[in-house]
């Protein structure tokens, strides 16, 4: 099993909501020949991912963030398992997915979320100018976190970056 799992999620048909998906596609190319890194692009997080997450040494989630971040800004933070009380059960957030990994498989790895501030989730394939400019920085951020993890250092420093492309 891969020791590092990257999951970019969002709707590829809803403008900037696709940033996680597009970052995952770019990272898939970067790590195509690296058996220790597995990259998923997904519409949403779901319980079927719990086993993969439980067996990983580190998980990085990439998601669009509305309202809390300016468009194109990137925020990285650690994420921890949390209680879940959702009535819906085939769509999760990162803390709930981590908690499900513990409930179902007895473990969950260190994890972080890279959030990207977005401009618009209107229908369409294209990212806004700001979010498009953030895409290479998201990829670089993930690569750096993976390198830090591999060197045994703290792999996430919580921060926000205003990206200048």
């Amino acid at each position: 099993m891969p020791s590092i799992v990257v999951i970019g999620y969002g709707n590829p048909l809803r403008g900037d909501d696709a940033i996680g998906w597009k970052a995952a596609e770019a990272l898939r190319d970067v790590y195509e020949d690296d058996g220790a890194v597995e990259v998923f692009a997904s519409h949403q997080l779901n319980p079927e991912m719990a086993e993969t997450v439980a067996e990983a040494g580190m998980v990085i989630f990439i998601d669009a963030v509305a309202h809390k971040l300016e468009a194109g800004k990137i925020a990285c933070e650690s994420v921890h398992p949390a209680d879940h009380s959702s009535a819906f059960s085939h769509q999760l957030d990162p803390p709930t997915l981590l908690a499900s990994a513990i409930d179902l498989y007895g473990s969950c790895p260190r994890a972080a979320v890279i959030g990207v501030g977005i401009q618009s989730c209107d229908l369409g394939h294209d990212l806004s100018r700001e979010v498009k400019a953030a895409l290479p920085r998201v990829v670089a951020e993930v690569k750096q976190m993976i390198e830090l993890h591999r060197s045994g250092k703290q792999f996430v420093v919580e921060h926000q970056r205003v990206g200048s492309a």
Binding site: H84, S86, F88, S89, L104
Partner: protein, 472 residues
């Protein structure tokens, strides 16, 4: 009189509400299931080229896109007037069965097992798949693994789990790779073990649900499903058959292309979900049920060893046609077992690796009908095109729609049995929702709309005044 409204209905796919009318003594007079979402796919596809339909129609739903792909592609095959290659048909059948497994796993484990494991009256905050995981991790793991099994087959065949575009008019776009066949075959034993284990567990729970079995949409009705020439279980191809509650054939050998002669669609002002009915009996007398319970009631045999053993036991439940909708859950597991066995059988046939998987033609008919059995029941796609091959008219009849009249009657039956007075405990509300869950309705599909299902229950008096309300 007062009305109870459950809004939204939870642990189903889509948005709906339930209203229950009580008389002055707090006794239930009437009850209705309302679907509150709408998207209108039939209209928005007008003017598009017919060959776009499978990919477009699959977008109706994120849970059962494969079912729409199959029915839509079959309607396009009819427009092309082609007989698709044998390998392509078998590959489509495998994908359809994988869809049955993943959807039934979602319904049984993720949506309904919290009621079976934790009880109808348990804490609603824990009555979900996470509560199941905390209480019985093995059961939850089985649900996750079984759904993943189906999803992975869909992904291997179609390139992705949701909205694969691999099923096309005339066949499929790519043959099956040897390594993918081997990968799927390797995962069969585990999937089979999970379903057999789950069937054993569920059968042991039945004793705890005698009252629900007796009252959950347990009434005589007709049933409809595709049936093979030999009377065995059919999911991809066959004749439509209707039988009554005693198993007597009402109408047999209906060519799916002639569905309009036999199925009418009534519209009620309080719901976006239409109410199909058997035309010769009129509306609403022509109520029938579709889906796992209908298919197993009607099937002579499943056609695979383990599923046939289970079917024999299932038939002993009531020593005649099984009428309680609570047994939809049981039927779902038997169908999942059949699907796993049948996928294995298809994959072991040498021609499954054949390279000829698509027939090509231009439009040869102006009208095409495609029918298949989706997880929730019979699915009908009908397209009419103009001389340029553009869609002039589309009509979709979805499994959940077929069951609309029965769901409404089921809600009334449960409400009448369990609601006594104006104060309604949460566990009783859950039972009113649970009768809907038996049918595993997919409202995104049935109104061709998007969204998740929520629940809204209102209690109103005989003048329509709202007395109390519960929303989730």
């Amino acid at each position: 009189m007062q009305t109870v409204v459950i809004d939204p209905v939870t642990r189903i796919e889509g948005h709906s509400k339930i209203t229950i009318q009580l008389d002055d003594h707090g006794m239930v007079q009437d009850a209705h299931f309302h679907v509150t979402q709408f998207r209108g796919f039939e209209k928005l596809c007008e003017g598009r080229p017919f060959y776009e339909m499978p990919a477009l129609m699959a977008r109706i739903c994120g849970i059962c896109p494969v079912s729409h792909l199959i029915a839509s592609a079959k309607a396009c095959d009819a427009i092309l007037a082609v007989r698709i290659p044998e390998t392509a048909e078998k590959l489509r059948r495998i994908m359809n069965l994988a869809q049955i497994v993943q959807s039934h796993a979602l319904s049984f484990f993720h949506l309904s097992s919290p009621d079976f494991l934790l009880g109808m009256d348990s804490d609603p905050a824990k009555r979900n798949i996470f509560g199941v995981a905390a209480h019985s991790p093995e059961l939850a793991r089985d649900g996750v693994r079984l759904r993943k099994f189906g999803q992975e087959i869909i992904e291997l065949l179609g390139g992705k789990r949701i909205h694969p575009a691999w099923v096309v008019p005339g066949g499929v776009s790519e043959p099956l790779k040897v390594e993918y066949r081997d990968q799927i075959l390797k995962s069969i034993p585990e999937a089979k073990d999970i379903v057999v284990r789950s069937l054993g567990w569920f059968k042991r729970q039945l004793e705890n649900f005698r009252e629900e079995i007796r009252t959950f949409a347990n009434f005589p009705s007709m049933f409809m499903a595709l049936t093979k020439d030999d009377g065995n279980l059919a999911f991809y191809k066959g004749w439509l058959r209707l039988v009554d509650a005693d198993g007597e054939i009402v109408q047999d050998h209906i060519d799916p292309a002639d569905y309009e002669e036999y199925i009418g669609e009534a519209v009620e002002p309080s719901s976006y979900l239409k109410s199909p009915y058997y035309k010769p009996m009129g509306y609403p007398k022509g109520m029938y049920r579709v889906g796992p319970l209908a298919r197993l009631n009607m099937a002579k045999r499943c056609g695979t060893p383990l599923a046939d053993q289970e079917l024999a036991e299932f038939r002993e439940l009531e020593r005649r046609f099984v009428l309680s909708s609570f047994y939809y859950h049981y039927a779902r597991l038997i169908e999942a077992l059949f699907a796993v066995e049948k996928i294995e059988a298809y994959l072991e046939e040498p021609e499954i690796l054949g390279k000829h998987v698509r027939a090509y033609a231009g439009p040869n008919n102006y009208n095409g009908v495609g029918v298949s059995e989706a997880p929730r029941g019979t699915l009908i796609h009908n397209y009419k095109i103009d001389e340029s091959g553009l869609i002039k008219h589309a009509n979709l009849i979805i499994a959940t729609g077929h069951n609309n009249l029965a769901m409404n009657r089921g809600v009334l039956q449960v409400a009448k049995h369990f609601i006594k007075g104006r104060t309604i405990p949460e566990g009783i509300l859950n039972r009113v929702e649970a009768v809907i869950r038996c049918y595993d309705p997919c409202l995104s599909c049935s109104t061709h709309a998007m969204g998740q299902m929520r629940l809204h229950l209102q209690l109103v008096d005989d003048e329509g005044k709202l007395l109390s309300e519960v929303k989730r």
